[in-house]
């Protein structure tokens, strides 16, 4: 038990110093990184909402664009965190040897991992909020409950940063990240009710979807954006909190195993 607690204790002021390092770099590159984050979801919205959407009458009382907008926000936030803690973290760890440089200081490897996860989370939150503002400007946000969406972005950021960091702790080389995206991120993107309701598919697909974090994130964001708030939201929220806490030791454990021999 004591062994497990140390992984949760790594969230401390040492980890914040690692986050701080990443934020200094972010200050230099934020404009480009954000621009890419915004352009892609807008392309999806334009193509699917304005293009495909004309052919689709209504989904549960929402226009098709209204239906997909919160899902697009969720996937953008997912991609932002997932990319940061996979490719970008791998480059820092493997090619730039930044983790090695940091763990020669009083900071330990677990705190380095937390610093990286916090940065991945930050990127996800930022991406989520910016695109949320964009869809609000497009008139696709109809409820003040949307002000609570940043809470969901925090959980989403933590979850996808952790999933990617687990991969970073395992992959032999940078090309191997393709598996993460092909096997996990893309299926999640397609089967989490971002583009269509799952009740048209066999029961089994819905049951599998329940295990996908993005499914719960999309559900919550859609409900808050369009003001469809009810007690069932607590169930989805708790799912995300528990998932975050359960996998929490894994990224640190794997990175420790990878670097400390």
């Amino acid at each position: 038990m004591e062994n497990l607690i140390k992984y949760y204790n790594s969230v401390n002021s040492w980890a914040l110093k690692v986050l701080f390092r990443n934020l200094i770099v972010f200050k230099k590159t934020w404009a480009t990184s954000l621009a890419f984050n915004v352009v892609e979801p807008l392309l999806y919205l334009a193509a699917l909402g304005a293009g495909l959407g004309v052919m689709i009458p209504e989904i549960k009382g929402m226009t098709y664009t209204e239906f997909i907008a919160p899902g697009i926000v969720a996937t953008s936030a997912m991609w932002a965190s997932a990319a940061e803690c996979s490719y970008d973290s791998f480059v820092r760890m493997h090619f730039q040897k930044i983790y090695h440089a940091i763990i020669a200081t009083p900071i330990n490897i677990r705190e380095v991992v937390i610093g990286e996860l916090l940065y991945g989370t930050f990127k996800g939150i930022l991406s989520g909020i910016v695109i949320m503002i964009v869809i609000a400007l497009l008139g696709l946000v109809t409820s003040f409950w949307a002000l609570l969406t940043p809470v969901i972005f925090i959980l989403s950021g933590m979850i996808f940063s952790q999933i990617s960091m687990i991969w970073t702790g395992l992959v032999p080389k940078i090309d191997t990240f393709a598996y993460l995206f092909t096997l996990i991120i893309t299926p999640m993107f397609l089967f989490s009710e971002v583009f269509f309701p799952l009740d048209t598919l066999p029961e089994i697909v819905q049951q599998i979807a329940w295990f996908l974090p993005l499914y719960h994130i999309v559900f919550l964001l859609r409900a808050l954006t369009l003001g469809m708030v009810g007690p069932e939201l607590i169930h989805h929220f708790l799912w995300l909190v528990i998932f975050t806490l359960v996998i929490f030791p894994l990224p640190q454990l794997l990175m420790q195993r990878r670097l400390i021999k």
Binding site: I102, T105, P106, I260
Partner: protein, 311 residues
Amino acid sequence: MSVVIEANNLQKYYNNFQAVAGVDFQVMRSMCFGILGPNGAGKTTTVGMIYCFTPISGGELNVLDMDVTHHPREIKSRLGVVPQENNLDQELTVWENLLVYANYYGIKRANAKEKAKELLNFFGLSEKAHHQVEQISGGMKRRLTIARGLIHTPEILILDEPTTGLDPQSRRLIWEHLRQLKNRGLTLILTTHYLEEASHLCDDLIIMDDGIILEEGKPYYLIQKHVGEKIVEIDTEEAKINNVLEELAPLSGGYQLAGQTIFLYIRKDENPVVNKLNSFDYVNEYRVRPSNLEDVFLKLTGKGLSYGEFD
């Protein structure tokens, strides 16, 4: 004089491979302590254990009176590390590298700025402060890495092959800086396979190979003990090597053979050997030179060379 690092029967295994096989040594404050050995001798592993990067597998290792297994954070806050591979932060400028690193140690920003300025000045990097790390030369990167290791004013600075891959000028410049740091009382731990570097800088050293310590002592003492004052290098025909060795045996303290060259160890006076050599018509050429640490090193670790002791 106080002991700052003490290893007792220190061991390291990587799975079944024994990288360090039970070594004992002590490092005294304000000394330059050298760890010499060929590639794969266990030097990097040994210093890795000192700066709490590599967990120890057995024995004891105390740094500044603290055990490395239980006090890594405290130890690391008082050690500076210059790793073998440059791991400067490529996404930051020279100046930012120092400030961000200072922050890892929890140094207040104002103090960090002052210290960074002083270090850039000391290492001749002030003009490059706002350059990207990628834009500066290899020698400068190395100096910056050393400066970074000093940002928190450590008591001990660990340098793992600090001049490998540098040109001779950059190397000498770094030696000069290290000597100045030593004169100010900083304890240095240096791994190297440049013997010249070790003789220039080290007060005390160990020679490692295959994870054990072959020899230890002051550079001058080791030279005296193993090879004597001078070396006569003799080029001869292959067929005559045994003749030459036989004739010269009583006049020398041992030899080493590399191809067709004999390295003859001279204890005191080279004149008797020289006189004999002048009388041989089959000796093409010979040179007398002062012996150095490299001769000791080759004698002790001499892989691919044959070595002989005269009775």
